[in-house]
Symmetry: C2
Subunit: 185 residues, 2 copies
């Protein structure tokens, strides 16, 4: 049951097709048959190489924020640094879009989303503010603004949000993030 190099192109084609389909259609509407067709492969190959649809999804839906070290910049520039990093991070990785598109209806995906913000963002915030008690709340607030942006720009495609340039978005969003990160209500 081990796979050789000969099938590697096929496996990679499937993985790539799955990423695209899941990113644009979400888990339910991205059918195994459609993914297989995109990858020029028989649907049964998908099962042989990846077990089942859920396992295939799990492989495509792991996303890492890859946060930079926010303690490296002055505390009052953390918001700007975070905004710039995030927008470029999810502009070349459709992982967040995949996750978000299905997290609205699938609890497993929602769990991953929760894990990302609790596990990757909250700890970072705790170190830059030095206050562990409010870190979770601040991470949640950052999530509302950050995910709201992803939602409006990449998923719902609200025209005014799509039309803004990266720089414009950073200019508007950074102060909001800054206040959530280290400011007070």
């Amino acid at each position: 049951m081990a796979f050789t190099d000969r099938s590697l192109p096929a496996r990679e084609a499937i993985l790539s097709a799955a990423r695209s389909r899941f990113a644009t259609d979400g888990y339910d509407r991205a059918t195994v048959r459609a993914i297989a067709a995109d990858a020029h492969v028989d649907p049964s190959m998908v099962m042989r190489y990846f077990g089942n649809k859920r396992q295939l999804f799990a492989l495509t839906a792991d996303f890492d924020l890859r946060l930079p070290d926010l303690t490296a910049v002055p505390c009052d520039e953390a918001g700007h640094a975070l905004a710039t990093h995030l927008i470029s991070r999810w502009e070349d990785d459709e992982g967040l879009q995949i996750l978000l598109r299905t997290a609205t209806t699938d609890d497993d995906a929602a769990d991953r989303m929760r894990a990302i913000f609790a596990g990757q963002l909250a700890p970072q915030i705790a170190t830059i503010t030095g206050d562990a008690t409010t870190a979770a709340t601040r991470a949640g607030l950052v999530a509302t603004q950050a995910l709201g942006l992803v939602l409006c720009r990449y998923v719902l495609r609200l025209p005014p949000v799509v039309e803004m340039s990266r720089a414009e978005i950073v200019r508007w969003i950074a102060p909001a993030l800054q206040r959530f990160l280290a400011g007070s209500p």
Copy 2:
């Protein structure tokens, strides 16, 4: 083909069940059979009374922000007024949740979402700022924060965002909305 008062309880039960199912499961996973079962009704009745699944969804998925007149409050309190209104508005009406849950995978629903923010919010903003050129952009920015909050609190249920009280949320979110509404980057 006209319906009498006798079937009115059944029709209302279907509508109510559909709202709940669509709100929690999204369009695809909310099956006609499940809705019918919740309403203690045969699946074929759903079709007779509402034509097909999409039409039934369209009936449950119309949402009105019911924005108050933001020009009635001082300009620098518009953010606070908007925040308080919105959070209470969508806490007793699951319409927005229905729409958001399926707008991530369904373009019709996404269209409705776009229409809401372009048609209901943007004009209001134009009048309070007196600047029609930036109104659409400001509406989009407000959408990122407002929808992000709905997403995190009611759909993804990020624990820190769920645990905050209404008042806390307003205190944190209002300034962000205020800046988007009438401030500058």
